[in-house]
């Protein structure tokens, strides 16, 4: 059964995945320097364990989890700690980071198994092992994976939804993972199902990746209830709530988590990562990153050590082409522009997209003409037109009444707005403003 | 009967009544000239305070109608102000609004019957709107806010000024609407026979649009004047300082 599954509304930005969709994943050589920010996940930053001058081996823990919603950080390369201090973070701020000079002559030998084999472990032990491996959601959300694996007692999870949608234009990270490591994905699903005590898994893949669907189908394990579902190609199909809606017809109420409707969502790359962690016994040290865009000479899919600087990666990909104007971490719809080429790739970096003037040229803003295109685009059925007017008037409280909280800043409204009103940016500001007001009131 | 709280409600809710009420708070003195001029222009009942809009829109389709309506209102206003300020100490506070209305209604009845006898055509054209002078907030507002608290002379001055201001507004509206809507003024053709009249001007929408446009033009004119000579007010001596206080 392969009905056309999707959600309502959404947009169809040009995909541009052809740049890297057929390019096999290569391994990038170790750069000269690795930058490891202590904040690479949602939750509390990790607590520093090393000091300047320390020698670290590949896989060494350099910072440990600080609390439950936190994960440790491991050295992705052998070398010595050169510096600890503020460094450009991909989110645009300066954040505390460990700067490691890579040992050019180290063989980067895998250390003895750090993470145990999963067979025979209890679910609790697996969860602990996942946390110890520093695994976070690799789809971009960077939420610590182990937290999702411990649903509270009052919710029953019946389905594992595997996110292979990859709806962001340009990105082919998950695509290549599915095509090249389908067994790992299935292995990861097996571990997850065992841990959660769930019997059913659905893999959702957008239909623009037939080879990925084919690969996953071919390697489908016979003993598990896993189905591969083709999904309509539409942004933001890969957003958790949209994916759940498309695959299970369930809707996550505002302020609730997917687990409250009986679903756990994992990204294919995260699952492959979990499988790899238990196979090799090494924590999360590297990840697949799509480096692409019209402003890049050699678009590629790379395995890069976490902490590699943009500069080094772009250099490996042939450098910037003429006319490159903007470097975006993540997909171009929700990603963040990078002001500094020294910012490192972190665990949640799905891709680096180099845009040119054609995409990034400034556009004149016109008054809202109430065309309603944003309402037709909004995947969570808000009225961005009204919210935008309220935002302009600074009426944040009224925006809250108009369900601003449901907005996930997917950017669909900004994308379609013919008047170039920066709607999602205004909503982000309004959300921040509301939070500030609430804090001040409290 | 309508109690005192109704009166305050009424005055508070009448648009523009806010400033009008503030201007005559007890303890503040105004010059006789100011009492007169305030109503004529500065606090023109129609153009500034937006009172008495119903007649200003309904019967201003010709200058003659506007003038008749203006004069009738003027008569009722001065008559009531005279009576109210004369008998202000005899009118019990609790029933003062009702008494005002009774006094006004009496004068309106007189005006109604007089117009019917003297100019039956115009009386017919004005129709029910003569009777509706009773509920013209402007008149009741002046009684409550001014005539019932001031000596007879001042009350008359104020009524003259306000009534005159009302006539000015009425005639202004009437002239614009008759000129465009009929090509004439007071019935005399201005533009000649070949003029294509703008019928809309003598229809209800024309009333709204004309007043709206007048307000916008006045706003623009005031804004320009304020920009030219900031903070200088050309009003009788003492007024500017009082306003500033």
């Amino acid at each position: 059964m392969r009905a056309r599954l999707s959600f309502r509304h959404g947009v169809h930005p040009p995909e541009h995945k052809e740049l890297t969709a057929g390019v096999a994943v290569r391994r990038m050589p170790y750069p000269d320097e690795i930058i490891l920010p202590l904040r690479q996940h949602t939750g509390k930053p990790a607590r520093l364990l090393v000091k300047v001058g320390d020698r670290v081996e590949r896989g060494d823990k350099i910072a440990e989890a600080d609390g439950f919603v936190s994960v440790p950080i491991h050295a992705s390369s052998a070398g010595s700690v050169r510096d600890i201090g503020l460094w450009p973070h991909p989110d645009g701020s300066m954040a505390e980071a460990v700067r490691i000079t890579v040992d050019r002559f180290s063989p980067q030998i895998p250390r003895p198994r750090i993470i145990p084999h999963w067979e025979g472990l209890t679910p609790d032990q697996i969860v602990k092992a996942v946390q110890r491996a520093g695994v976070v959601g690799l789809g971009g959300a960077s939420f610590p994976t182990h937290v999702k694996l411990l649903p509270p007692d009052d919710v029953t999870v019946d389905t594992l939804v595997v996110n292979g949608a990859e709806c962001e234009p340009y990105l082919t990270t998950d695509h290549r993972v599915m095509v090249e490591y389908p067994e790992r994905v299935h292995h990861g699903i097996r571990i997850m199902l065992h841990t959660l005590g769930v019997s059913r898994a659905i893999i959702g893949v957008e239909r623009n990746k037939p080879d990925a669907i084919e690969a996953l189908d071919r390697t489908l394990p016979a003993d598990l209830d896993v189905t591969v579902q083709g999904l309509t190609v539409k942004y933001p199909q890969g957003y958790e709530k949209m994916l759940i809606r498309a695959l299970t017809r369930r809707e996550v109420p505002p302020g609730k988590l997917p687990m409250h409707v009986g679903v756990i969502v994992q990204n294919v790359a995260s699952l492959a990562c979990i499988a790899e962690v238990f196979e090799t016994g090494l924590p999360l040290l590297e990840r697949v990153v799509t480096v692409t865009g019209p402003g890049l000479r050699k678009p590629s899919n790379l395995i890069v050590p976490v902490g590699s600087k943009i500069r080094d990666i772009l250099g490996f990909c042939g450098g910037l082409a003429d006319g490159a104007t903007e470097i975006v971490f993540g997909g171009p719809m929700m990603g963040a522009s990078q002001p500094d080429l020294d910012a490192p790739v972190i665990k949640s970096t799905t891709g680096i997209v180099v845009l040119t003037r054609a995409e990034s040229r400034p556009r004149r803003t016109y008054p809202c003409i109430r065309c309603g295109h944003c309402l037709d685009a909004c995947p969570v059925f808000l009225n961005p037109s009204l919210l935008g007017v309220l935002a302009q008037a600074g009426r944040y409280e009224e925006m809250e009444e108009a369900d601003l909280a449901t907005c996930m800043l997917c950017g669909c409204c900004s994308y379609v707005c013919p008047s170039n009103i920066p709607l999602s940016q205004m909503f982000a500001l309004a959300k921040a403003g509301l939070q500030r007001r609430k804090q001040q009131a409290a | 009967m309508t109690g005192p709280e109704n009166a305050t409600e009424l005055v508070r809710h009448a648009p523009g009544a806010h400033e009008a009420g503030a201007a005559i708070l007890p303890g503040r003195t105004t010059t006789p000239g100011y009492d007169f001029l305030r109503g004529v222009w500065r606090e023109n009942p129609v153009l500034v305070q937006m009172l008495g809009l119903c007649p200003a829109l309904a019967v201003t389709n010709t200058v003659a109608n506007s003038l008749a309506m203006g004069l009738a209102t003027f008569f009722v206003l001065t008559g009531s102000s005279l009576l109210v300020s004369t008998f202000k100490n005899w009118i019990p506070k609790e029933v003062r609004i009702a008494s005002f209305i009774l006094i006004i209604a009496t004068f309106v009845t007189i005006a109604d019957l007089t117009l019917a006898a003297v100019v039956p055509d115009i009386h017919k054209a004005l129709g029910a709107f003569i009777a509706l002078i009773v509920v013209n907030c402007m008149i009741l507002g002046r009684q409550e806010a001014f005539a019932s608290k001031r000596p007879v002379g001042r009350a008359l001055l104020d009524a003259f000024g306000t009534g005159f201001g009302f006539i000015i507004a009425m005639v202004m509206m009437g002239s614009i609407r008759e000129l465009l809507g009929n090509g004439s003024l007071l019935g005399y053709s201005v533009f000649g026979d070949s003029f294509e009249p703008w019928i809309i001007m003598i229809l209800p929408p024309g009333g709204f649009l004309t007043l709206g446009l007048i307000l916008i033009v006045f706003g623009w004119w005031r804004g320009r004047k304020a920009a030219e000579v900031p903070r200088v007010r050309r009003w009788p001596h003492g007024v500017a300082s009082r306003r500033a206080a």
Partner: protein, 350 residues
């Protein structure tokens, strides 16, 4: 740049831009939509010229000039470029009789933009369709001129002849020596004479400059709908409501009430439904609202045509529903994702 350069910085000298997401943008823009609407009107204007000769171009030109000059004089600087004033002018010109004096067309355009749009704050803020407001103003101001229809194209001796006193001196009444006719709706209402539907469709009838060629307007509207420059729900619901309502009446008394096809292709319904009612600014933003809006217009059109004093009611129907749009928008707010149970029918699970 040579292949040797490995350092990305030196490769393209990027002045790195920082922008908020999304970093991609759909190709549509407000001026593009507006000028596309203008472009889609060219066949309609051509048809108008074919039927009403140079008068059509003169009237459309005068109305557009009135609209554009007013926008230029009082609007925000540069707002002419977005094309919305031009649309207002052209649409107004298209719904005037071909014989109106040019000064009247000019005043209509100026009034529409001035009182219908600029007073509210310009593009996007107006409540009433400016073209229709201008038309309604002219209808109320100069009722005689606005109901003097030129004879149908077949009755005019030569194509190049003016269809009325277009060139009357400003503020003067037009002379009345042109060939005049009656619109199909007028004939139907006052003389109970229906007009052949094929003639209605091709436009060989008397009426406003641009509203007679029903099929041409329909095709242009379909083009706009296909490009998502108009909300197809509005015209579809108008047509459905008019066809249904007038169909019922027609069944009750075929002699008095015209057939649904006649109702659809007569008067300004095609132009109104496809170009005026779908004006984005003055129609509801929600799709549920668009249905309500369209059905309301359809019903009002039939009510006014059937029981009102005027033979045609499309303009008033749209203006009245324009006034209701803020209310409709409030009443049809979409139900956000996850708030199941209180969701409107529109968002019901597929």
């Amino acid at each position: 740049m040579s292949e040797a350069t490995r350092d990305p910085i030196s490769a393209g000298d990027p002045l790195l831009q920082l922008r908020a997401s999304p970093h991609l943008k759909a190709p549509d823009s407000t001026p593009k939509i507006m000028w596309n609407v203008v472009g889609s009107l060219i066949p309609v204007i051509a048809a108008a010229t074919w039927y009403f000769g140079p008068s059509a171009l003169l009237v459309i030109g005068a109305a557009t000039l009135g609209a554009v000059l007013t926008e230029r004089a009082f609007g925000t600087p540069g707002s002419l470029a977005d094309g919305s004033a031009a649309i207002t002018g052209i649409l107004l010109g298209l719904c005037l009789p071909a014989g109106v004096p040019l000064w009247i067309a000019f005043i209509g355009g100026a009034f529409g933009i001035g009182f219908g749009k600029l007073v509210f704050g310009g593009l996007g803020q107006n409540v009433f369709n400016p073209a229709l407001l201008g038309r309604a103003f002219l209808q109320a101001a100069f009722p005689a001129v606005m109901t003097t229809w030129p004879g149908s194209p077949g009755e005019i001796p030569s194509w190049s002849q003016l269809r009325g006193d277009n060139l009357a001196i400003p503020f003067a009444s037009p002379s009345t020596d042109a060939v005049t006719g009656a619109t199909p709706l007028g004939l139907m209402k006052f003389e109970s004479t229906p007009t052949d539907v094929t003639r209605l469709m091709i436009g060989d009838i008397s009426g406003s400059v641009g509203e007679t060629a029903g099929v041409v307007i329909l095709l242009c509207g379909i083009y706009l709908a296909a490009r998502n420059y108009l909300n197809w729900r509005i015209p579809v619901s108008i047509f459905a409501a008019v066809a249904l309502f007038s169909g019922i009446l027609h069944l009750l008394d075929p002699a008095r009430f015209a057939s649904p096809l006649f109702a659809l292709f007569s008067g300004g319904l095609m132009l109104g439904a496809l170009y005026m009612a779908t004006d984005m600014v003055t129609s509801p933003v929600t799709n549920a609202g668009a249905w309500i809006f369209g059905i309301g217009i359809g019903i009002l059109v039939v009510v006014i045509r059937t029981w009102g004093g005027l033979p045609e009611g499309v303009m008033y129907a749209i203006l009245l529903m324009n006034a209701l749009v803020p209310f409709i928008n409030r009443a049809t707010q979409p139900r956000p994702y996850g708030s199941r149970g209180r969701r409107a029918g529109r968002e019901a699970p597929a």
